[in-house]
Symmetry: C2
Subunit: 152 residues, 2 copies
DNA sequence: CGACTTTACGGGTATCGTAAACATC
DNA sequence: GATGTTTACGATACCCGTAAAGTCG
């Protein structure tokens, strides 16, 4: 049995639609459909009665949903605990990036990354000239486009 | 993630050996090994430290095992509830079997089967002659060996 | 040496997304 | 007719068992 299928069941019951669940889970409606079918075949019981315009749990499905949720919650909790145990990322990291890339893309990512790792300090060097890469010692340097000097 | 893999983890932790777990689960040691590897890869954490003669949980594995067990328990409970809802098997079933087969094999099975379905009454006809099959109307008849009359 | 774990590999199955068909309001 | 569900299908990926290699006591 696959936990992904259980997840589809939970989302489908929550959103009242396979397509909506599929959108949430970033899968196609087709695979959501077969996921439910797989579950039902494995359990030998119909869990959802589905028409094109409505979707509702069968009595059996309603009962099973409770247990599926607790199972998924237990696994998520276990996983969270694992990550909590994992060595904290700490110290200082210096990175170099072009100004536009930093402004448009990286800022949001870095915000979230630092929220996950409060012990981490970032030293950002924003510069648009590649030559700056050699001036300052950085640990990660990001550039994009066609490199002018293939020696890199 | 696969629940079968979680099951391998539970059995391996319980028996202290991948091979022992594999025997219990009727799989080969090789698939037990890759099951654990799959789990560890999915979680990004080593769960079991294994040498050829010993197997023990890592601290992370010990913590995760608890949640894996509750997840499996929840799913088993949900499945049991589904079967409980299912229509009870009731009524009378008559079967015919050779005396030795009944004594050696079937008795234990039938005991358990009747314990699962208290509404069911069994009518056993034990006889070693195949000709008896036609005398009494039975719904299931068991014989083994080479049939003397290919008309059956 | 013996028992256990792991890796390599081939065959078979499963699963995915696309696309089309089908159903329902 | 528009949205949602299901099926068909081809390509890929996954998973199993066998077998061999590696490992530890």
């Amino acid at each position: 049995m696959r936990t992904d299928d259980l997840n589809v069941l939970v989302y489908a019951a929550e959103h009242g639609s396979l397509s909506a669940a599929a959108r949430e889970l970033a899968i196609t409606p087709a695979v959501a459909s077969v996921a439910i079918k797989r579950l039902e075949d494995a359990l030998g019981t119909r869990l959802l009665v589905r028409s094109t315009r409505s979707l509702r749990l069968t009595p059996a499905g309603a009962h099973y949903l409770v247990h599926a949720k607790t199972a998924l919650r237990a696994l998520a909790e276990g996983e969270k605990e694992l990550h909590r145990e994992r060595q904290e990322i700490a110290g200082e990291l210096s990175l170099s990036m072009p100004s536009d890339l930093g402004r448009n893309v990286l800022l949001g990512w870095l915000d979230r990354f630092m929220a996950l790792h409060p012990q981490l300090r970032l030293r950002l060097r924003v510069s648009d000239r590649v030559s700056d890469l050699f001036r300052q010692p950085v640990e990660i340097a990001l550039r994009y486009g066609v490199p002018e000097d293939s020696a890199w």
